[in-house]
Amino acid sequence: MHISALELHAATSYEDAAELLSRFSPDVRLLAGGTDVLVDLKNNGNGVSHLVTLERIDAMHGITEEADGLRIGALTTITELDESPLISGGYEIIRDAASQMATRQIRNTATIGGNIAGANPCADLPPVLIVLGAIAVVFSKQGPRELPLQDLITGPRETILAQDELLASIVVRRPPARFGAAYARFGLRKGNSIAVATAAASLILDNDGAVHDVHIALGAVAPKPVEVDAAKLWLEGRKLNGDSFDEVARAAMEAAQPISDLRGSAEYRRELVGVLTRRALQAAEQRAQG
């Protein structure tokens, strides 16, 4: 299918973008990398009449190192995440996800902002950024505001963003010492697969080998990324071993609210959650050990 007739508007600043969104709302969408939005417009006969492109907003591009962490512009491509030397140390979990998303061609154009604000339940980056404690910086006509990333996504293809609001950047604070985070994902083929279930985990290891400040987030198994709070509390100060893995896997499986679809039944997804959670935790612990 072809994309039905529409008008492109190139925003040159956040204010400009917010103004354009506000002017054409609701018959408007933002265009970042386009790998999701254009597919949607092709497959959906009732498209929109206006697209606002963001490419000319310089501040939305690239990754910058700031005093307390990284600021990642919403237009940063997945390839940039994958190749950036700044994505190292505790941030490596971002590469875990970025390096295996979709295809090289898609990664070259798709953006971190699109992956988040698209709010696809099986998106790879949101769980990863949630366990890193990422902050979303959003912008509307009222100016910028900040919110925890997990509060941004409210459901499948739904965010808290107002009609005139856009995701501007992501801020990820610098991880402390002995921090480790890792991502485990299951897809039905080795390349270019949509996630069937994913688990991201982060933790801090103390000198006795006990874990603290554990975060676990699951993807593709609920309408939006799920944080496994029970595991977080239960694991605090404990060591990772067979028993604690079992306990956490159980908690994660309980937290998941999977659906059955083409890619897997709810029961199977639940089982995958258990396996992936353990694998992500193990890998995170290994990274924390350095």
């Binding site: 039905s4 386009g34 597919v39 390096s99 979709a102 090289r104 083929r189 499986m253 083409l262 199977y268």
Partner: protein, 958 residues
């Protein structure tokens, strides 16, 4: 909004009017006519449209053209320097990096982007860079080789691989390779005729219903719409494939039978307008119950999808050879199992496309992406009510078929009808979604198989009962139902055999003929059954096969005449090369090895339509005679007046498998000249005589005979002139290396071209003709005895090695070792390419492919995102080899390889998975979820679980 913009493409500035909604691929193709970027899916799933933007590979279907001005766009057309190919392109040409070529421009662009950034990539980096470029032909093996070895082809002293001098047995590059690697190869959708308009079909949104109201007035009124046709406007003549079962309307008359069933056809000034018009057509239905399971469809009282098929059964096969009951009763070991196949789809990378135009003398010219040019002519004559000779069919480059393009499509018919009413050329191209809804993929078969063996493993009897889920129309399905049984006794000696087959109509897109036509699923089932029996009898699976293996010059129990047969050699070699004895039963849990075998016909012994080539549909069909009435393959060879070039004309369908190349090689061999002197014209029915096309793996064998004979005839005509110059007896003249010489004394020779010129001076045009008819009397005298007949049969054995993640069930197909008996391989690289492609397609079919439906009959995965085929990262390492073999009935000793290579694959994969996990999954595809479930069920049932992770998993389950 439309604006004039300047695009920088391949270093040139193009100023072009662009709509804001135009994608880059559409602007490149439709406005700049740079058609190297292909549209395979339009959704970013296949990578065929890959171009570089500022040196980064992107899907040009997911980029709006008006967002890239100021950036440097590089397409496949921009890679070569004044016609000199890049090292990478040369490597693709010489290393067998392509077959149908439709994915090739995108593949080359992705690889170019990689190499510009990283000139010495590791294998894993190559795979990561190419994971977004799907290929359906090569199994990625030749592509990997091409990227790995590109350095060999850099610099002016670059190697060009084996020379083009080669005749039979030499791996010359494909004759179309350079065109395919540069984007010059022209596929149907790449053709833009003057004044051309575009057509689209409205497919049914529901799976089963009566059309109560159809209003096209709003569509007709849309500006830019030239014509709208519905069932009321078109012939009542039904079409199809099997003459006894024509059951398809051109456009639905009163009823729709599957989602996508064509209801109306629109022609408009462009494709976008045609799409908009479709949305304006109003249809109201009286919905009928939807039948999706053949077992429900055959139940008494089920609604009939077609009135003429009682209980919705459109084909019944009942064949009984020997005494099955007695043999089973006397068997030492009997095992019965139920297996289920999957509805896999060929998914060629090139979507179906047709362009029709009528000439002023009433000739229809039809460009179509078909694999069976004469059948299209035949069916178009039938449905348009004009003589076959009034139809000129042109087959541009075809981007893969595998059976999906083996029938006349609604695009062929409707483009012709729309062209007639509009008076303009009409182009119609399926979207990927429409391809799935047109269907013609593999039948899902529900199979009950029983085998009886002696204590030593000798097969006594096989009993097979199969229900084929046919979808809504017959298509090739009658033949499919017969093939599902006919080929069973060709691989092993089976003295008693019964087959009962039922092809059942359901409300799904019609199934048709896919690579291995009807045979892969029963072969999968039987190979599994044999492996189960081997384990229970304590006989090694390879040894069990040796004890039953088909032997040369055997008449099977169902009267199929096996000639050459080196099946046992394939078994012995594959076992040795894969270190079978060291691995089978000796691997750690989670690792597995498995074997599967198979073989196929080298061309069907009988044509689909009987009698002579029909003048028109009005002529009644002739009664069946046990011989071919007309030759199935025909060729004309014309030598240029200077003797330096040969034009080989034959209507054989190059669809990517390499038929043009092997036919050139065989013709050159017969004529004693280098292959580089032969040009083939196979694409145009006005130029090339009838060849039935690319189905039933017939081309190398049958067309090969025709071209060799035509070449030989030319040489025969030249000999008297050579003899005169050399002053010798004509009978003493031999020909080789473009010289005609006296037998035993090559130094006394005359250049080939000189003899050709002498002939022309004396006689005018130097032409030769050749043809091939299958032998008379093939097959038995029972009903359906023609199916499975062939002049020759191929054989092969595959060993698959896997590792399985025992916690998730995920399978990693690591390695394949395959040995085939294809007679003499005419072009070993091309023959290996068939095996490599079949392994990846077959392995994907076994573990991940399948069209799925919801309860209303809606397709759940009609896209290359939802319908999973293997990517380059999924493809195993493959070793393909051939055993020594010579088929006396074949041209230069050759037999088929294209479809037979699929058959061992499914069983080998299933066996390897069972070997790794301890459980058999008997319904395809063998997904991780099914594997895990089977393992858990076994654990729960059985006493001694061996899984090391048992404790954790049990805990996780509670």
């Amino acid at each position: 909004m439309q604006t004039l913009q300047t695009l920088n493409v391949n270093g040139r500035q193009y100023t072009v009017a662009i709509d804001d909604s135009d994608t880059l691929v559409d602007v490149l193709r439709d406005k700049l006519r740079l058609t190297g970027a292909k549209k395979g899916c339009g959704q970013g799933d296949c990578g065929a449209c890959t171009v570089l933007i500022d040196d980064k590979a992107v899907n040009s279907c997911l980029v709006l053209a008006s967002t890239v001005n100021g950036k440097a766009i590089t397409t496949i057309e921009g890679l070569d320097t004044n016609g000199e190919l890049t090292a990478l392109q040369k490597s693709f040409v010489n290393e067998g990096g392509m077959q149908c070529g439709f994915c090739t421009p995108g593949m080359v662009m992705s690889a170019t982007a990689l190499l510009r950034q990283n000139p010495e990539p590791a294998d894993e980096e190559i795979k990561e860079a190419l994971v977004g470029n799907l290929c359906r032909c090569t199994g990625y093996t030749g592509i990997m080789r091409a990227v790995q070895n590109y350095g060999k082809y850099s610099g002016s002293e670059s190697q060009t691989g084996e020379s083009n001098q080669g005749g039979v047995g030499v791996s010359i590059p494909r004759v179309d390779a350079a065109d395919k690697v540069t984007g010059r190869a022209t596929y149907t959708a790449d053709i833009y005729l003057p004044n051309m308009v575009h057509g689209k079909l409205l497919g049914s949104p529901i799976a089963h219903g009566l059309i109560k109201k159809l209003d096209v007035s709003r569509a007709k009124a849309l500006p830019g719409v030239l014509a709208v046709l519905t069932g009321a406007d078109v012939t009542d003549t039904k079409h199809g494939v099997s003459p006894a079962r024509y059951d398809e309307d051109v456009l639905a008359k009163d009823k729709v039978r599957h989602v996508g069933d064509p209801i109306a056809a629109v022609a408009a000034i462009d494709e976008e307008t045609a799409e908009q018009a479709l949305a304006l057509i109003e249809v109201e239905f009286e919905e009928l119950p939807v039948l999706l399971d053949p077992m429900d469809a055959i139940a008494d009282g089920a609604p009939l999808i077609h009135e003429k098929y009682k209980n919705n059964i459109n084909t019944v096969v009942d064949q009984d050879f020997g005494d099955i009951e007695k043999a089973l009763a006397e068997s030492h070991y009997v095992r019965e199992e139920v297996f289920t196949g999957n509805n896999v789809y060929q998914s060629p990378l090139e979507p179906h496309a047709s362009i029709a135009t009528w000439e002023h003398d009433g000739t229809l010219v039809l460009y179509t992406s078909t694999q069976v040019l004469p059948y299209v002519q035949y069916m178009m004559a039938h449905v348009l009510h004009i003589p076959l000779g009034q139809i000129r069919v042109i087959r541009p480059t075809v981007g893969g078929g595998f059976g999906a393009k083996a029938a006349t499509s609604p695009l062929d018919i409707c483009s012709a009808l729309l062209s007639k009413v509009t008076g303009r050329p009409v182009k119609m191209v399926y979207s990927r979604d429409e391809m799935f809804k047109y269907g013609r993929g593999r039948h899902k078969q529900h199979m009950k198989l029983k085998v009886g063996l002696d204590e030593d493993g000798t097969i006594r009897a096989v009993d097979s009962e199969i229900y084929l889920d046919g979808g809504a129309y017959s298509s090739f399905g009658v033949a499919t139902a017969y093939y599902a049984g006919a080929m069973m006794p060709t691989l092993y000696h089976i003295p008693n055999y019964r087959y009962r087959g039922f092809r059942v109509m359901t409300n799904k897109p019609a199934c048709g003929a896919m690579r291995g036509h009807g045979v892969p699923q029963p072969r999968f089932a039987f190979e599994c059954l044999l492996n189960m029996a081997a384990d229970e009898l304590g006989i090694d699976p390879v040894e069990l096969r040796r004890r039953n293996a088909m032997t040369p010059n055997t008449m099977t129990v169902n009267d199929l005449d096996i000639g050459s047969c080196e099946f046992t050699a394939t078994l012995d070699t594959v076992a040795e090369e894969s270190s079978w004895d060291k691995k089978y039963g000796k691997l750690e849990k989670g690792k597995g090895i498995g074997i599967g075998c198979g073989g196929f016909v080298s061309g069907a012994g009988y044509c689909i339509y009987r009698g002579q080539v029909q003048l028109s549909h009005e002529k009644p069909r002739e009664p069946f005679q046990k011989k071919s009435i007309f030759p199935h393959a025909n060729s004309v060879v014309k030598v240029s007046e200077d003797g330096m070039a040969v034009v080989l004309m034959i209507g054989a369908a190059e669809i990517g498998q390499g038929s043009d190349t092997v036919l050139v090689q065989m013709c050159a061999e017969a004529m004693g000249i280098p292959a580089s002197r032969v040009r083939i014209r196979s694409e145009d029915s006005d130029i090339s005589p009838l060849d039935l096309g690319s189905y039933s793996s017939r081309v190398t064998f049958m067309a090969g005979h025709a071209v060799a004979r035509a070449g030989t005839e030319v040489v025969g005509k030249m000999k008297p002139y050579a003899a005169k110059i050399l002053e010798c007896d004509e009978a003493d003249i031999e020909v080789k290396d473009a010289k005609m010489f006296i037998k035993g004394d090559p130094s006394r020779n005359v250049p080939w071209e000189e003899a050709a010129r002498q002939y022309f001076n004396a006689n005018g045009p130097l032409v030769g003709t050749g043809w091939y008819k299958p032998p008379e009397g093939l097959g038995g005298d029972y009903k359906g005895a023609t199916v499975g007949t062939s002049p020759a049969y191929s054989f092969g054995s595959s060993v698959c090695e896997v590792s399985v993640d025992l916690e998730t069930g995920k399978v990693d197909i690591e390695k394949f070792t395959d040995y085939h008996d294809c007679g003499t391989p005419i072009n070993p690289q091309a023959a290996n390419g068939q095996v490599e492609g079949a392994i990846v397609m077959g392995a994907g079919e076994t573990i991940m492919e399948g069209v799925e439906f919801d309860e209303q009959g809606q397709l759940l995965n009609p896209s290359l995102k939802g319908y999973l085929t293997m990517t380059i990262k999924d493809a195993p390492e493959i070793f393909s080899g051939f055993v020594d073999s010579y088929e006396p009935r074949g041209p230069f000793g050759a037999k088929e390889i294209g479809e037979g290579s699929t058959l061992p694959v499914l069983g080998a994969v299933a066996h390897a998975i069972a070997n790794a996990t301890g459980v058999w999954v008997k319904d395809l595809p063998i997904t991780p979820e099914k594997i895990l479930k089977a393992m858990q069920e076994k654990e729960e049932a059985g006493p001694a679980p061996e899984t090391p992770k048992t404790d954790e998993k049990q805990a996780a389950l509670t």
